[in-house]
Symmetry: C2
Subunit: 390 residues, 2 copies
């Protein structure tokens, strides 16, 4: 019996291998990227007819430049060297991280044909690789129990839409009878309910921190913060005709995302085994999602014990002060402003920090290096997840 | 209040837009692909320094060629025309479908920098677009109730591994108390638990057929049929270091996938509201997964009423005949062999069809045009899903 089955399997494998030739377009034989034992990385591109080839990405130390009239950190692509039609560049040893990169061939930016791993950020798709060892390990799939990642649709009467969200439930959720705390996590402008799962590495970070006992098992809800959009690029009924853009979306909004947040909370608490009290709810977000966090944490009074504003700020005004004072009176466990010191939002974050100090609003300022980048947001998430529900 | 919130939001949007410049690598200003009202398509690439640019893909009528010594259908890339540094090619009007394509620039195959939509098939990533109207509509997200797509991990004691699967539960599953039939769906060699969801468009096909009343609400379980692999490329603990390959996987297998199928069934029936009888179980697969379907449908006697072998075949031998005879005796509702008439597997499928006829084993032969391609597998899935659980 076994023999026959094996024969059939082998046959199908062999024919499938042949067939695949037809559809396997675009691969190259070059090994790229190649991560060496010392964590230096070699990129390779077979392009014998090219005159100039460069590699760019966030593994290159940025320098201060100018974008749109603002001082910004910019990484300049570096030249690759050609030997026998294969262009090559080897980095110095890199710190443990998840990196993005791209090639520039005679002025045209392309993906690495040898690397199938790519992640989209707004309207940009770049190749990725991970240097293991430290942060890279937290952002990687490890041999630990894994949570479930579900794409679910919910009704948002406030926006008059059925919308998509990503829900992470920790390992063991389905077979347990326990109730769980809930962490609502918001993306930035141009992002969507995929962002925190993709470059944000939310599932890997939570799996690993929970397995290490550093974070409590929790439900993480990643919403779509663009009130004009049902779902991420490719998953709405615009399908592949939609071009992602900052602040994108083509339908007229009838309300803001913060106004519609009540629909999210209602759906989650009705459909998951949640602990429905303030001490079991956290909210955080990056950039525009940090703004959403500022707004929602004060507009939904006494709802969250844990608030994380990443690469964004709030404002203390005549209108927001009473709401913040109500939060002070009601109490909360953690209120964080996290920002990189070269982020163009940095001064706004510091101003808000000072305003909060003036009104005696307890909070923490997490000042990191670097700018308005995923590298920082992964760090903030990793740190914040270890501080909540404890 | 509203005014302040709007101000803060606008501010964050503005700064986020600027910041994005840094990370938004690689986009081009060319509109590509552009789908015209008559369903012709224009591809564009900005490459002023290129000497020769072509576009290839499955929108081009294939011709018979040879791959690895076998007669195979091959689509030849076509030349694009350059005007002011922008290369362009416009197709004739295309039939409604999901198409894949790529560019060849001076011999180097690249992705379209203007199109963020790409799908991986084994180790090949190609851009995609959909021509709506007929099949394209079935493969698209429509304004209909959407099922949930969950990535879950299960224990496979047979393989000594925790493994990942994709589970589609139909719209309404979570809020219903009903039990549902289960459709197990297997990929081909080099594929994984993503394949039927990505190029296979499983969630869209099921959402649309169920909404139209053409298919019963059902749970669809998409497993990983490679017994050496925990999870799809990028989701196992090899992370981005794994290069997908036909028959890939780096761990020594201790059992076959069909032998481990009992772990899948046990997990699904323990964790979902399933109707646990033969009339509520279907199994189908493509290529290697068709082989798995042949094997599992006879090795798990009296388990499935619906069997679909796509672009693959079985064998009637002294060893398999008694098992098939047991199936005849036990009864079943539908046994399908589906194959394209230019598929290199076609003759094998016809041989099996003849063998089944000789032993009086009731079945249907679905003979289509075309070869060993996703276009056929999407059609077979669409047709099969409408025939099961009825």
């Amino acid at each position: 019996m076994k023999k026959v089955l094996t024969l059939v399997s082998a046959m199908l494998l062999a024919v499938a291998s042949l067939s695949a030739q037809q559809s396997l377009w675009g691969g190259q034989s070059a090994k790229s990227p190649e991560i060496h034992p010392d964590n230096s990385v070699t990129f390779r591109l077979v392009a014998p007819k090219a005159v100039k080839v460069q590699v760019g990405g966030d593994f290159i130390e940025p320098v201060m430049g100018e974008v749109g009239g603002r001082a910004m950190e910019v990484s300049q692509p570096v030249d690759m060297r050609e030997v026998n039609g294969v262009w090559e560049y080897t980095t110095k040893p890199l710190a443990s991280e998840l990196y993005s990169y791209y090639f520039v061939v005679d002025g045209m930016t392309i993906k690495d044909p040898s690397n199938v791993y790519m992640i989209r950020d707004v309207n940009s798709v770049t190749n990725v690789f991970i240097i293991p060892g430290d942060k890279g390990d937290i952002y990687s799939v490890q041999e630990v129990p894994h949570g479930t990642v579900a794409k679910r649709w919910y009704e948002s009467p406030t926006l008059g839409m059925t919308r998509r969200m990503t829900v992470y439930t920790p390992a063991g959720y389905e077979t347990s009878k326990a109730k769980y705390p809930v962490f609502y996590l918001f993306h930035g402008s141009g992002g969507d309910e995929e962002s925190w799962m993709d470059l944000g590495r939310n599932a890997q970070i939570l799996d690993n921190l929970i397995a290490q006992g550093k974070a409590k098992p929790m439900i993480v809800v990643v919403t779509n913060g663009n009130p004009a959009q049902e779902a991420a690029a490719g998953y709405s009924d615009e399908n592949f005709a939609y071009t992602p853009a900052m602040g994108g979306g083509t339908r007229g909004g009838v309300a803001t995302f913060p106004e519609s947040f009540k629909d999210v909370q209602k759906f989650i608490e009705a459909n998951y085994r949640t602990i429905n009290k303030k001490s079991a709810r956290a909210v955080a977000g990056l950039s525009m999602g940090g703004g959403h966090t500022f707004t929602i944490s004060k507009d939904y009074p006494n709802t969250f014990d844990y608030v994380g504003i990443f690469s964004a700020s709030g404002q203390v005004t005549d209108e927001t002060r009473p709401q913040l004072q109500a939060m002070q009176k009601n109490g909360y466990a953690l209120y964080v402003i996290a920002c990189g010191n070269t982020d163009f939002v940095y001064q706004g974050a510091i101003n808000y920090h000072n305003q909060l100090n003036e009104m005696g609003f307890e909070h923490e300022l997490w000042e990191s290096g670097g700018g308005h980048i995923w590298r920082n947001w992964r760090i903030y998430l990793t740190d914040f997840a270890q501080r909540i529900f404890k």
